[in-house]
Amino acid sequence: MTDLAADLSGIKFTLDGEQVQAFAGETIWQVAKRQGTLIPHLCWRDAPGYRADGNCRVCMVEIEGERVLAASCIRTPSEGMVVNTANARVQKNRELVFELLACDMPARETSPNPQSHFWLQYDLLGQQEQPRFPSGRPGAGKQIPVDSAFHDASHPSIAVNLDDCIACGLCERACREVQVNDVIGMASRGMGAGPVFDVKDPMGLSSCVACGECVQACPTGALTEKTLLDVTATRREVYADAVKPSICPFCGVGCQTEVSLKGNHILKVDGRQGPANRGKLCVKGRFGMDYVMSPERLTTPLIRRNDAPKSRDANMQFADISSVFREASWEEAIAFAAGGMNTVRDTFGGQALAGFGSAKGTNEEAYLFQKYIRQGFKTNNVDHCTRLCHASSVAALMEGVGSGAVSAPFTAADDSDCILIIGCRPEQNHPVAATYLKQAAKRGAKLMVFDPRKQEMMRHASHSVIFNPGRDVPMINAMIHTIIEEEIYDLQYVQSNTVGFEALAEKVRDFSPEAMAEICGVEAQYLRELARTFAQSERAIIFWGMGVSQHVHGTDNVRTLIALSLITGHIGRPGTGIHPLRGQNNVQGSSDAGLIPMVYPNYKPVEDPAVRKRYEEAWDCSLDPHNGLTVVEIMHAMEAGEIRALYVQGENPAMSDPDQNHARKALASLDHLVVQDIFLTETAWFADVILPASAQPEKPGTYTNSNRQIQLGMPVRKPPGSARQDWHILMDMAKASGLDWGYTEIGQVYTEMASFMPCFDNISWERLMRETVVCYPATTVDGPGEEILFYDGFPTADGRAKLVPTDLVPPHELPDDDFPMVLTTGRLLEHWHTGAMTRRATHLNAQESVPVVSMHPRDIGEQGFSRGQQVTVETRRGAISLTLRADRDVTPGMLFIPFCFVEAPANFLTSPQLDPFGKIPEFKFSAARIKKANAETTI
């Protein structure tokens, strides 16, 4: 109580006859709420990020001495003010405002949402008579006619029924201020005033990205999930019978969700107040969850039929599964799956086996998976798809700052003056993280966006830099050159916290902006301005993504970014840091848990005898003393016949790995392939046995997001058929391979894993059960975790960070006369990774259902193509056919293909050339050519 009193600003006023005090900036509404009086409200949304607008006039209060009433949501009290929140005048006005609004709205019982915030608030006023005033709206007082000019069902996921709209503008604030997507405007005037999409376009044809924030914010039924409405999309049909907390299964942002269910059926998903998302979601998290209810879910174990040989050209897209696989009991399937692994081990030795774990599973599953491979087969051939995403980032970070995780969360952008993003498109791939960057830019922070392609973030940017693809190192080195040459680096920081400055300074001497300008396609003066702006900002932070890491010089790219951050001292303080944006929901956690061939949990080297000894004692076995192979190396070893059995849990190398002609051949050549997944993925086409697993909302465990926040996810629904939770399957596999694990609860797995990980100290399973989210590292058992790392020094031997000079390494395969275009690959907003989940999410697939290659309209015209036609894109490794999309974001001379489409897998084209340090392939740069599709061109 004393603490609270100390925080009060000292403004004393009278609220409904009682003396009260207000915090600085607190509104009358908020004080009243604190005092236990909930003043009815419509346009005010009591949630973080929402600005009070005071337009609905429902929360009016009387302030003595003032001629008219005041909106309590927007009015702050002043000393001595006397406020009445519920006298007769206030009540009368409040009832009249509700009545005025209600008389233009559809009849409650047939409206899009009779349980909307509006009606529930109206109920608080007590029994009301029918509204008495005449209306001009087609739906007023009745069910909304489907031909109402205010009805718009053009969007696959959201129904717009503006007959039910009260023009409160919450959707606009949701879209513009909370998500900063800027699709909704409040247009026109008078009774015509209301929300529009773009230029009053049908929602489905607008630039709407379907984050659904507007739906979550709408206080009436004007914007409603279609999954709740009847076939006319005007009337509520479905109600949930349970609402459960959950976590989004898609990207590394780690949004907390609230899942509404009817039985085992997910009806809708809302954003929950998590530290990473603050109530927000993107299209995937909100509308992408019906993949778990897909009829394509695997419900029964499958074993390859003896008469169904494997072929590298297998394609089961439209195939009859029963002609290739037969159903099996779990007993038979486990015996077959583990037995096959055991046989290879016993015949060829453990090095002939490998496992791909998953960055989508829980920390506990990742831990168990690597334990199974290492303990059961005495090999370190265990890896996962972070190899394909951020292996180079992790390599450079471990080398430079001694830690593979982010130094600051993306929410640190709140405190930043300068935000540099490079090689990432967070609006597509980390949409909720992007909101913080855009909000910072709106508040006036500098935003530097570096990308070889144009992107919407550039509209918010103070500095937009479209540079030549693959030229990150010369560009960043030119900035470092400028900062050192102009002596605007942080000398004190460099001297006390880093090593290697002289070597760096020496190396970048050759990288003057003037010398690099042409190579990277950015003018020298501008490079200098960028360098100065970054260096001279008070607090600057760097974010990067796959555009930086997926190159043969990916590790060098990251080294330059780390150096840029270190020499300017922009690390270890609020608003500063380095943050590789993580692509998968648990890519941080599965790396932490040791799904890496060179390290045990917490990045402890397998080749360190002391470390190994500890595990050998704990696991009561002998372990492989040598580093294992990485993903792409494993594929090569499979093709060479050196690896004969592979266990894949929740990964899809047949789509995600480069140079698919070889990758699929390698998969087809295995003696024994175990695939544990929820769908018959492209990888499962090559399986000997398929174990039906559980989707993320069906199993317990923890996930670690990009911000190092460990979040607890508990099952909200049952898996279909006889599909089982992954950790149960792993335990059975272990048992069948002769291991005696004996876990009875998932928490035991966490506790064992955490015992090897000092970074999880003070974060017990019980604490996670209680708090549901904790950021690691945590220094006390109840205090908050450390969001910002490296306040004082680095977790390296000498406590200093290492500056690593880098050379100019060109992309592996430069364009030439035969292959004149630069092909780059990536994701679409709606499709996550290889599309295994999102292509089966009906709402997402409805928006992006066709494989496309994007090209600048000028190139399309000049090269004699027309958009919409079928084209073939070819590299030295393969060719695929798809639809040509005209996109001004793609720089002339470039092609972009998302890798989520099984019909045209982009990775048939990509290069398997690896970065020497991170062993990550160069997905972002291939020489390609494009031509009109031949009818016979197939993959």
């Binding site: 005037r189 009774m191 709407c208 919409g868």
Partner: protein, 561 residues
């Protein structure tokens, strides 16, 4: 459980989401805008350039404009769609006819037959070539019925005069004879400004003079000018000044007349005020219905800038057909390039105004009196009131059933009946005085027997009205007070910005009740209560005054079918 189908009109997979534009679209708009700064506050000016040159604004043009200004399409569209003078044409919609005739339909113009004129015009013209729009008041009430084509004004308009002009080029305003820079200088103009610049007149003394003279805000609120200067000066700079020339209150035309006769009185006053209060820039907001005044100001500001005087920089900003932008905070939003939504107060614009800075805002006539007050002294000004307690001369805009309508410079506080008899030549032939609006559409409507009261701030508030911008409209026995009240309510329904529900829905319901001739007084009283108590700004709070007075003072007409 059958729910809404997710199938939808699939967007074209050969394009990214949303409306796409070509390099050509961008170049075209870029060329049109020439060297206009691509800043958010210039969006309305940019929309004017497109509307003026093309006669409409296409969705593609909005998208191109958005890209050039680094805004979202919705951000441009919501602004464009707020202002009635922008014709937005989306794909597949018809382009408006090349000629637009706006016929004013304010009460004075309606009395003079505006609706009959509209009907006749519609019957006479080829709709593909000429579009007839019933417009809110265009500030020519002493020349009713009045109309506009392009930048030309037609007073006492007839079908013949308008049709004859519809073929002509109406893109340039016709400039009347007015007091230009040399003439103003010759009459002693800018000497007071020079004294202020020299320090001969000190800032504190100037502020005191305004207070002593009793100069009040003549845009309608009547706030004492001296006090306002004191407030704004007290806030830390940088400060800005705005001049409110959005004279949209139906029946008001005094500011237009002032600008079209003696623009430098306002300019000198504004310069003095800006100097005294310490404002770094002056934005002059002129309604789009005043092309003549705007053209004059453009010329005379150029002349003033070319003079030896040390001038505070001035910019003209053009309204786009929105009455609400006469409300000072809505005007400021409009100058910032946004929709004209009135702001919540507090904070008042004196503290947080244009671009978030302390802002001094004045009406045209208010600042025009400043040089005279400083030259002749506050007592000279104060003495020109009708009796003790009423200070200064006032410009009354008088129209309706009187013999000589026009701007009447009369003493503040003059009884209305004397204004009619002594300044307007009495009632028009054959008309008997029946009722009057003392302050435009929002000040209420009163019966003739109340015309003995002082025409000044403070009188009509007691009766539930106000004098506002001193716009007096006189009705006679020929006229229906009910019709006048409905005309007024329709105006407010049309001009409500739509921000707050009491005004947006209340004005709409009031019109619908009147149109349906609903007799239940309780319904009207409830609307008056919620609009009066709970609207954000004065528009909504005062919009029902005429209906309130219809019920109170003209019960027979209220009940009449």
């Amino acid at each position: 459980m059958q729910t809404a189908p997710i199938t939808f009109k699939r967007r074209d997979p050969s394009l990214p989401k949303g409306r796409q534009i070509s390099d050509q679209d961008l170049q075209d708009i870029s060329k049109l805008l020439a060297d206009m700064p691509r800043r958010t506050d210039m969006v309305i000016e940019a929309l004017h350039v497109i509307q003026d040159s093309r006669g409409h604004i296409s969705a593609t043009a909005i998208a191109a404009l958005a890209e050039l200004f680094r805004l979202a399409q919705a951000e441009v569209f919501e602004v464009a769609s707020f202002y009635h003078h922008f014709d937005i044409v989306r794909e597949g919609e018809a382009i408006p006819a090349p000629v637009t005739i706006r016929v004013s339909t304010c009460v004075s113009c309606e009395l003079a037959g505006a609706y009959a004129l509209i009907d006749q015009l519609r019957a006479a013209v080829d709709a593909d070539r000429v579009r007839i729009i019933a417009s809110p008041c265009i500030g020519q009430c002493d020349g009713a019925p009045a109309a506009m084509i392009g930048k030309r004004i037609f007073r006492h308009a007839t079908v013949q005069s308008l049709l004859a002009a519809s073929d002509a080029d109406n893109n340039q305003a016709l400039l009347p004879d007015y007091q230009d820079m040399p003439a103003y200088l010759a009459s002693g103009g800018y000497r007071v400004l020079a004294q202020v610049l020299d320090g001969e007149i000190e800032a504190d003394a100037a502020v005191a003079s305004m207070s002593d003279a009793g100069l009040r805000g003549l845009g309608g609120a009547g706030f004492p000018a001296g006090r306002k200067w004191g407030f704004v000066r007290a806030y830390p700079g940088p400060r800005l000044m705005t001049i409110n020339g959005d004279e949209g209150e139906p029946g008001t035309f005094k500011d237009r007349e002032l600008l079209e006769r003696a623009p430098h009185r306002m300019l000198e006053g504004a310069q003095i005020a800006a100097r005294v209060v310490g404002c770094e820039r002056i934005y002059i907001y002129i309604r789009d219905e005043y092309p003549t005044a705007r053209a004059i100001l453009r010329r005379e500001i150029t002349a003033l800038e070319a003079s030896a005087l040390d001038i505070v920089p001035m910019e003209i900003r053009r309204g786009a057909g929105a009455y609400i932008c006469g409300e000072e905070s809505a005007m400021i939003e409009s100058i910032e390039g946004k929709r004209g939504l009135p702001r919540h107060k507090p904070p008042f614009i004196a503290e947080v105004g244009l671009f978030g800075r302390p802002t001094l805002n004045h009406n045209i006539e208010t600042v025009a009196w400043i040089p005279d007050i400083l030259q002749h002294g506050p007592q000279w000004f104060a003495d020109q009131g009708w009796v003790e307690g009423h200070n200064g001369p006032r410009s009354f805009s008088v129209s309706g059933r009187i013999k000589n309508p026009g701007v009447k410079l009369a003493p503040a506080g003059i009884p209305l009946i004397r204004l009619i008899e002594d300044f307007c030549g009495g009632m028009a032939e054959g008309h008997e005085f029946k009722a009057f609006f003392p302050g435009g559409a929002s000040g209420g409507i009163f019966p003739a027997h109340m015309a003995d009261r002082a025409m000044d701030f403070g009188t009509w508030e007691k009766e539930g009205g106000f004098i506002g911008s001193h716009a007096v409209v006189i009705l006679s026995q020929e006229d229906s007070v009910r019709d006048a009240a409905l005309n007024t309510m329709r105006f407010f329904q049309h001009e409500s910005c739509g921000q707050c529900s009491p005004c947006r829905n209340g004005t709409d319901k009031m019109v619908r009740l009147l149109e349906a001739n609903v007799q239940s007084e309780a319904l009207y009283q409830d609307l008056l209560t919620v609009m009066g108590d709970s609207s954000i700004c004065g528009l909504g709070q005062a919009a029902g005054n005429c209906v309130k007075h219809l019920m109170k003072h003209f019960p027979a007409e209220f009940a009449h079918d």
